[in-house]
Symmetry: C2
């Protein structure tokens, strides 16, 4: 039976110190409630989260009305999510949290192609295409021929690497953003040849705004931030013996390269997309309108499991 | 037109430093995107939030899978909310954030009744009752007679103070938690008399678990924490010339006084709820079963607007 009497309100660990809580002591009280039997990693994460969340609330002296506004905002973010839209990923993206987590989990040796954010528009099992195919499948946009070589860090070509590529069309939309679109457009799975080379035809990627008609868009507007991402192609490259690479290739000269709404741009991922007048394309066929070419090579990080190739 | 070339990747403010982002530099990059025209308070809050959120993610070296798990958890929290349930308030409560914000916004001079968390079960416009009324209105539980005096910090009685009271029944539920219940039970609005006194009859409050069948309940279970709150009565007291007081009175001896799931207990708010055998009650009427009495006086903080009474 509790006695309900503590000898000293100031003793941080005295009996019943839970009953002398203030905005400072509460942090330790909360974290002490986690049981010793809780999974260690979960306990570590929640303990640190509580500490940093409390530090934040104390630093800005969050008011009761502000806490309620934050709760209503997060509720709206959750309720905007559905099977086609993930507003919490968007929130993580615009706060730079996604890019931070990408960066700290993908440190690579100098010379490797850098990673960037995955984004919400990847689709499993995109259609397989042969080398050189046109993957646009009707997506609107100027033709763009993309080619390059996938190598390992030591310069060795990586044969049979699995490349997934996806992108927005000239209106700034991915295929999955069109209601009722039941086929992949400007989205494909390819394999590198024995020399590590890949090539395909698609369309020119455009800069586009992230979905901004929900609570995250309202937050950006309130902060005076725009919702635009610079034009980019997404790549996901898997090959045996190498770390999987998730990255973009950005288009040099894009207006939003230095203010990407999700902070995904890295200098090493920016490439020149070269414009050509109408005429024969790289595949020898005649194009009746201007087209683009993009050359980009990738360097994969060898997995540390193989002591002969690992350099990390 | 962007040139895409920076002279030094190490210069934190060099041209195009946005393109040399890593898990450390990103924090400043994100916060620099907030426009000078954004409301100052919003900018301050989001800037601090970004800093603390990033510090958290770096400290625990949050993985990509863990970020995705966190996003899915928050999405579920948002989607559990409806017009009868606010799972994000619950999350704020169990992380101690609600109590922290209550504490830092309600510092009062020594001698004033302390505040505690508001909770999610308050209802506007509860039925008005006269002094001494039975407010239970059929809520199950042993009878409990509550009485006391509302005073100012200087000891002066506060006449005509508006008291709202609400509580759970012996099964641990508030009236609003019953499907289809269309009337208030164990919930009322009262006024103090000319001498500052109040009194009413209700039922004994019970300890109860916060709603724990949703994502917040799962989190508590994973952390080895129980969802129980010690028995308490809620009070909201408004009187002209005084700060509004939102608080509870807790029942001495309750098993959960030192492990309240939402960290709301304060020693000064714990009172003895005295059990009496069947016989005449405080109102003179005969009770055929045991009953309880609770005596609790409140001391309100004078508003600083009145220089004659303010002591803050």
């Amino acid at each position: 039976m509790e006695q309900g009497i503590a000898l000293s309100p100031s003793g941080a660990h005295s009996q019943h110190d839970t009953r002398y809580v203030d905005e400072f002591s509460i942090t330790e009280l909360v974290n002490r409630q986690i049981a010793a039997t809780a999974p260690q990693r979960l306990a570590d994460i929640v303990t640190a989260l509580t500490r940093h969340l409390h530090d934040f609330a104390r630093e800005v002296r969050l008011s009761e009305n502000e806490l309620m506004a934050a709760i209503q905002f997060l509720t709206q973010v959750g309720q905007t999510c559905n099977d086609k839209r993930q507003e919490f990923i968007l929130l993580s993206d615009v706060l730079g949290l996604s890019m931070l987590v990408t960066a700290q989990n993908n440190r690579k040796p100098q010379g490797c192609t850098e990673s960037t954010v995955f984004g919400p528009f990847h689709v499993e099992n995109s259609p397989e295409h042969a080398m050189g195919d046109d993957i646009a499948n009707g997506a609107p946009g100027e033709p763009c021929f993309v080619r390059g070589v996938v190598r390992g860090l030591g310069g060795e070509p990586v044969a049979n690497a699995r490349i997934e590529v996806w992108q927005a069309d000239e209106d700034g939309f991915y295929d999955v953003q069109y209601d009722g679109m039941d086929q992949a457009r400007a989205r494909a799975t390819l394999r590198t040849g024995p020399d590590g080379a890949y090539r395909f035809r698609s369309i020119l990627a455009s800069s586009y705004p992230i979905p901004h008609d929900g609570p995250v868009g309202k937050l950006l507007a309130a902060l005076g931030r725009h919702p635009w991402r610079p034009a980019h192609l997404h790549f996901l490259i898997k090959a045996e013996g190498y770390e999987t690479l998730i990255t973009h290739v950005f288009r040099n000269g894009d207006h939003y390269l230095d203010s990407d709404a999700v902070f995904g741009v890295r200098q090493s991922l920016i490439a020149d997309w070269v414009r050509h007048p109408a005429g024969p394309g790289p595949d020898g066929r005649l194009l009746t309108a201007p087209f683009y070419t993009l050359d980009f090579d990738f360097a994969l990080n060898p997995l540390p499991g193989d002591p002969c190739t690992a350099r990390t």
